[in-house]
């Protein structure tokens, strides 16, 4: 069995989880208050001071504080979006795999359609109608990820429903819902957990992309994608504005993926015994 991935876990705590919950106590400045006398301060080590460790943006807002507060959006949206997407996708995948027939065909074609539709374009269209909002981001996240869950869960349900213990449950008088909830779902739980973990990275990047394009979380919220976008025009002269939020995204996604890989091995009984 592979050892607990301590470095990714520490990184994740440091960059995402602790800031998401404790930003208001850790952050040295209010992320929304600008200090026009301290505009475009460079970070420590590049001519800056410890007053603004990661420098300031065009309005003189503390980048360090903004990144810390931005973690809330990354964590919140990925948790809510994945929870809804996973529950929806799992439910539809179970129905699809257990019932088969035309229900299966309809649900799987829906998955194909959502995979075929460009999600960014969809978000742009929706944002044009209703304006960017938190709800819209969650909606797009759910739209993008539910199909992964539905497909994977369906595939496993199809194989599990042919297993002997399901046949035994049927001849012992178990009803369809009971078989799905007690015999199929618990045996797919590992897969769902691993898939959800691996989706966190996808969702954080998606949220950052939407925010970067201005169709995600509305300004002046310090979502990481927005922070990267803010620094885009000044990237040559004031590189730190984009670099540090980008680094936060990179480290978060990297550590989440490493933890997901480890979790997949750890939850697999065959690999665990080896």
């Amino acid at each position: 069995m592979r050892r607990l991935p301590l470095v990714p876990i520490a990184l994740l705590l440091l960059v995402l989880i602790i800031p998401a919950f404790f930003a208001q106590w850790i952050a040295p400045h209010d992320p929304y208050i600008s200090n026009l006398r301290a505009r475009l301060q460079p970070p420590v080590g590049f001519g800056g001071t410890w007053e603004y460790p990661l420098g300031t943006d065009r309005l003189g807002r503390c980048m360090f504080s903004r990144i810390l507060h931005g973690a809330k959006y990354a964590l919140g949206i990925s948790m809510v979006g994945i929870a809804i997407g996973a529950i929806l996708g799992t439910a539809l995948g179970l129905i699809s795999g257990y019932l088969r027939g035309w229900v299966d065909v309809v649900i799987m074609r829906l998955v194909d359609i959502t995979f075929a539709l460009p999600s960014i374009l969809l978000a742009l269209a929706l944002a044009a109608i209703s304006g960017p909002s938190l709800g819209l981001v969650v909606l797009v996240v759910v739209f993008v990820i539910w199909g992964f869950f539905a497909r994977q869960v369906r595939a496993e349900a199809l194989s599990l429903r042919e297993r002997d213990f399901v046949a035994r449950a049927r001849v012992a008088g178990a009803s369809g819902p009971r078989i799905v909830l007690r015999y199929i779902l618990p045996n797919i739980m590992n897969t769902i957990i691993v898939l959800a973990t691996l989706q966190i990275g996808v969702v954080i990047i998606l949220e950052a992309t939407l925010s970067f394009l201005g169709i995600g979380i509305p300004r002046p919220a310090p979502a990481w994608g927005l922070l990267v976008a803010d620094g885009r025009q000044l990237i040559v002269s004031n590189w730190w504005i984009s670099l540090f939020p980008g680094l936060a995204i990179l480290l978060t996604v990297l550590s989440v993926n490493l933890i997901g890989d480890w979790l997949r091995d750890w939850l697999d009984p065959k690999l665990r015994q080896a």
Partner: protein
């Protein structure tokens, strides 16, 4: 326990599988009955339709390809064939139970065995003191140290233990009939006898009728009261175990009995029936066994054999054969 009022009566059952090459009939007009407290053996080679008969009775044929084409299955006087899936769900486990072949895959790997026995009790509307009831059930099927084992997971148990647990689950609803589909095939030989004794013990305590599906004639002789011999989806001989073993009246039964090895007889070659069972889509008009039968003539190959009295002349001994009288 009268002959006129059997607990399970199957009449002219025909079951089809819809394959891509067309529908084939895997059970072709099977009729038999089982009385309360009786053990009926169903014997036949692989592909003879014995398991399909069992799945038809339980109404758990492989979906969506399997279906009962015609016939009736009366359980306690009620025909199961026209019942809906919801109604069948209520009957399975409570009125008719089943034990599957492989205990290693018959239990849900994510729950303790106690949890699964309790589930079976819940399905059968039992409430309160379920853990104790589960322990009692495990004791009933001779699981040693049941108080501790009730908390064990299936992968922590041996095959024999698991098959006992499967047995406990199938008797949780006190069904009137238990269908056992080769329940000892996957067990060690040393455990097989113990398991058969357990089934007998359960039957004596509860009066359950057992339909025992097997290809092992030794088990039939040991456990069953009556047997039916199936070949290519049909019953070729039926009778009490004593009558059929003493006076087999169908050439196939004769060959089957002949192919059982004996410890006390030294032979150079074990007897095997020549040829293979027919592919079910190739069956013609005549007797299905004719191509492999040493006695077959032109009539056997072209005209379906009649049901005749068995050579024992007992009133409940029958065979489907033209040449029954020529057997010695």
């Amino acid at each position: 326990m009268t002959q006129t009022d059997p607990i399970l009566r199957v009449e002219n059952l025909r079951t089809e599988l819809a394959l891509s090459s067309g529908a084939i009939e895997v059970v072709r007009g099977v009729s038999f009955s089982v009385n309360k407290g009786e053990t009926l053996g169903i014997v036949g080679e692989s592909g003879s339709g014995k398991s399909m008969t069992a799945l038809s009775i339980m109404r758990v044929l492989p979906r969506p390809i399997g279906r009962i084409a015609s016939g009736s299955i009366h359980l306690n006087g009620r025909d199961l064939v026209p019942l809906s899936e919801t109604e069948m769900t209520r009957i399975r486990g409570r009125e008719i139970g089943m034990i599957l072949q492989d205990p290693h895959t018959s239990l849900n790997p994510v729950y303790t065995v106690g949890n699964q026995v309790i589930e079976a009790l819940q399905i059968n509307q039992q409430r309160g003191g379920l853990l104790q009831k589960a322990i009692d059930l495990l004791k009933k099927v001779n699981v040693a140290d049941a108080e501790r084992r009730v908390h064990a997971f299936p992968h922590q148990m041996s095959g024999g233990m698991k098959q006992r647990v499967v047995g406990a689950i199938s008797i949780a609803g006190a069904p009137k009939v238990i269908i056992a589909d080769e329940p000892t095939t996957a067990l060690d030989v040393t455990i097989q006898l113990q398991y058969l004794e357990l089934l007998e013990q359960i039957q004596q305590e509860t009066g359950t009728a057992i339909v025992f599906i097997t290809h092992d004639l030794g088990i039939v002789a040991r456990l069953c009261h009556r047997l039916v011999v199936m070949y290519a989806g049909r019953i070729v001989e039926e009778g009490t175990v004593d009558d059929v073993f003493d006076a087999p009246s169908h050439p196939y039964t004769v060959a089957l009995l002949h192919s059982v090895p004996h410890v006390d007889r030294k032979v150079d070659r074990l007897y095997a029936i020549e040829g293979n069972p027919p592919a079910l889509h190739e069956i013609g008009q005549g007797c299905s066994f004719a191509p492999r039968c040493p006695l077959a003539d032109e009539r056997c190959r072209t005209v379906a054999p009649p049901t005749v009295a068995g050579r024992s002349k007992a009133p409940d001994h029958f065979a489907a054969c033209w040449k029954s009288g020529e057997l010695a």
